[in-house]
């Protein structure tokens, strides 16, 4: 039997927790690059790898959107070679000396090649300059620790200082337990940064991808001026265990906690297939007065440390730099 027909192990290795399970899932499932075919995680259909890649890892048969890594996401959404990463050097500190946290961080780094799940930088989408944040779910399930929060806020401040729209692709299991209360506080920290954008009239756009749950969904991910979602993503406040208990008292609808459910309930503006996201985001970006399509001195506007931008950043940090 050829290698690429072999079933992946269906039961998780012993001693693995839910977070690692999710991380492994994202890392190994559809992303097996060696074979000629890839098996859809949802319908089991065998898809030619080349076509699967061309379709941005969306199953041609059932439309299931497989998870993307940070780099794949950036490639799928940003104009070619437009992404410049910011603050990639920030690393987690095990402030609580939490059991196994250090090992999990290392695993996350190995799996994703990054020091945190949140990857931020400047980019262009459809020619519009923006600050872009994407989450690599392989890094501890995209959970929000101190580095996640800090990078989010620095990205928001970068956007604020340059009046660039801030576009975030979310995939996160929520606050990171291994940082205790500091993990929880990233909900407040990221939301405070969004509030500043809101007050300064800087657009903040969110694309919800699979999965966005818990503290992420209950903070920055629900605060976009416009909120898009990929089809079939798991979007929920309650984790699976709690949802199961809850289902015993109230019967949930068939599409419970999916993008489509959240759209029906008014929590999401539009469910947009992955392939259409660049075009849809471009139309959204075109609406905002802050947006400007690429100009000759484009890179300077996005990343330049002009004295004005630097002053604005410093001012924003001191709480007095906002325009208006």
């Amino acid at each position: 039997m050829p290698d690429w027909f072999r079933r992946r192990p269906s039961s998780p290795p012993a001693g693995e927790d839910a977070e690692q399970r999710r991380g492994r899932h994202a890392a190994t499932s559809a992303a097996v690059p060696a074979g000629l075919f890839v098996k859809c995680d949802k319908c089991g259909h065998l898809l030619p790898t080349k076509e699967f890649e061309r379709d941005l890892r969306v199953c041609a048969r059932c439309g299931h959107h497989h998870k993307l890594t940070a780099d794949e996401r950036i490639a799928a959404i940003a104009d070619a070679d437009s992404f410049r990463e910011l603050n990639a050097h920030l690393r987690s500190e095990d402030a609580l000396a939490f059991p196994d946290y250090a090992a999990k961080l290392e695993k996350g780094e190995q799996a994703s090649g990054r020091k945190d799940g949140l990857v931020t930088g400047t980019a262009r989408i459809g020619g519009y300059g923006c600050v872009l944040g994407v989450v690599d779910f392989r890094f501890m399930g995209g959970s929000m620790g101190s580095v996640f929060g800090e990078k989010f806020v620095r990205a928001a401040e970068h956007a604020l200082a340059r009046k660039l729209p801030f576009v975030v692709f979310c995939a996160s299991g929520g606050a990171r337990m291994q940082e205790g209360l500091l993990g929880l506080m990233q909900m407040a920290k990221t939301s405070a940064a969004v509030a500043r954008l809101c007050e300064a009239g800087v657009p903040y756009l969110v694309v919800l991808t699979d999965p966005t749950t818990g503290g992420a969904f209950a903070s920055f991910a629900s605060l976009g001026d416009v909120i898009l979602a990929e089809p079939g993503a798991h979007l929920a406040f309650a984790g699976a265990r709690v949802a199961q208990q809850a289902a015993q008292t109230h019967k949930p609808p068939a599409n419970y906690q999916t993008s489509e459910f959240q759209e029906e309930r008014g929590m999401v503006d539009r469910v947009v297939p992955r392939k259409e996201l660049p075009a849809t985001l471009t139309r959204v970006l075109a609406f905002f007065p802050t947006s400007e399509p690429s100009s000759p001195n484009g890179e300077a506007a996005l990343n330049g440390t002009t004295s004005a931008a630097a002053a604005a950043t410093a001012g924003a940090r001191n709480g007095k730099g906002q325009a208006n």
Binding site: E19, L181, G239, G266
Partner: protein, 345 residues
């Protein structure tokens, strides 16, 4: 007695107190009340010594048990002890009301304020009505309505935190519990009026934070504040909710921990044995702290108040930032300087 929890210990104390009461009663009946005075004083002293010793060595799990104690004073128990007046108001003007999250107009030391608090129930009937303190979207939206009211009329806000978490049942998910909490986090971070939050019992995750973004965050000594319930943490990490006490240790859920992590500004001491043994004394200490902090933040201009609040939120977290000019790694986020390594360059 290393394996004894605080609840077991309380049973011992109750027994001891029963004996003291009985001694007193018998002596009184036999007309010898004066003769046993010294004995009773000795017994009471012994009791207090035992309590002091036990409470000096509380585990974090003991603190969880105290924070959830069925006799622990709730927001509505503190209301009459802290405020000259409290007029509860209801409804989110969108869908309904929520008895797990109470709020209204109150008078604190002669001045009008808005009070918002989470409320568990005392008996089964009340617990059911109040959903065991698990607030629903309506609760958070009512809270936001009251916060906006306070802002428009320039009144400070005091919030009392005591919830196991936000409600995660199907109807709450359908009505956007995530959005309701998220919106409060955003709005509270820029609300143009002073806010003080005090954790009085259980600070359960996002459900607690949804009314706890504030200029000052206080915690009663035996309350807890946690990213997830210890049971939940244990079942996710180790697939064994029974390891809850281990999870409480690992997550560092106590008031002192929260203070050390820079999340909480002040830990308010509770009377010996916990707030439920003497609610009046606990309330007096809480009132004193609220009064002090309110005076301090009320002096600030609105611009300054909001700048400080942002800086406070901005500084939450601890991380490593390798030095920008070859300097050693520095730890960010815990001081006033919000961008440690780069700020000096």
């Amino acid at each position: 007695m290393p394996s004894m929890t605080v609840l077991d210990f309380e049973k011992l104390i109750d027994e001891l107190e029963g004996n003291i009461a009985k001694t007193r009663e018998i002596a009184a009946r036999e007309g010898r009340a004066n003769e046993v005075l010294a004995d009773i004083a000795q017994l009471e002293e012994n009791r207090d010594a035992l309590m002091r010793e036990f409470f000096q060595n509380l585990t974090r799990w003991d603190n969880v048990l105290l924070a959830r104690h069925e006799k622990r004073p709730y927001a509505l128990d503190y209301a009459p002890l802290l405020f000259d007046d409290f007029l509860p108001l209801a409804g989110d003007r969108l869908f309904g009301d929520d008895d797990a999250l109470v709020g209204g107009l109150a008078v604190f030391e002669g001045k009008p304020v808005v009070l918002i608090g989470q409320q568990k129930g005392r008996d089964l009937k009340e617990r059911t009505r109040r959903n065991y303190g698990y607030a629903r979207p309506e609760g958070y939206r009512k809270a936001l309505r009251l916060l906006k009211l306070a802002e428009r009329f320039n009144r400070p806000v005091i919030t009392l935190i005591d919830t196991p978490g936000a409600d995660a049942n199907v109807p709450s998910e359908e009505r956007g519990i995530s959005e309701a909490i998220a919106r409060n986090l955003r709005e509270m971070s820029v609300l143009r009026t002073p806010i003080i939050a005090a954790v009085i019992g259980e600070g359960g995750s996002g459900g607690a934070l949804g009314i706890a973004v504030a200029d000052r965050v206080l915690m009663l000594e035996h309350s807890i504040y946690s990213v997830i319930a210890p049971e939940g943490c244990a079942s996710i990490l180790w697939r064994d909710p029974a390891r809850k006490s281990e999870a409480a240790e690992a997550m560092r859920v106590t008031a002192r921990d929260a203070h050390e992590l820079g999340v909480v500004d002040e830990v308010i001491p509770e009377p010996l044995g916990g707030a439920h043994r003497d609610p009046e004394t606990a309330a007096a200490a809480l009132k004193d702290a609220l009064s002090r902090h309110l005076k301090e933040i009320s002096r600030l201009s609105r611009t300054r108040l909001l700048a400080q609040r942002y800086d406070k939120l901005r500084a939450l977290g601890r991380f490593c930032e390798p030095g920008v000019d070859g300097a050693e790694e520095s730890t960010g986020g815990s001081g006033n300087d919000t961008k440690p390594a780069a700020a000096t360059s």
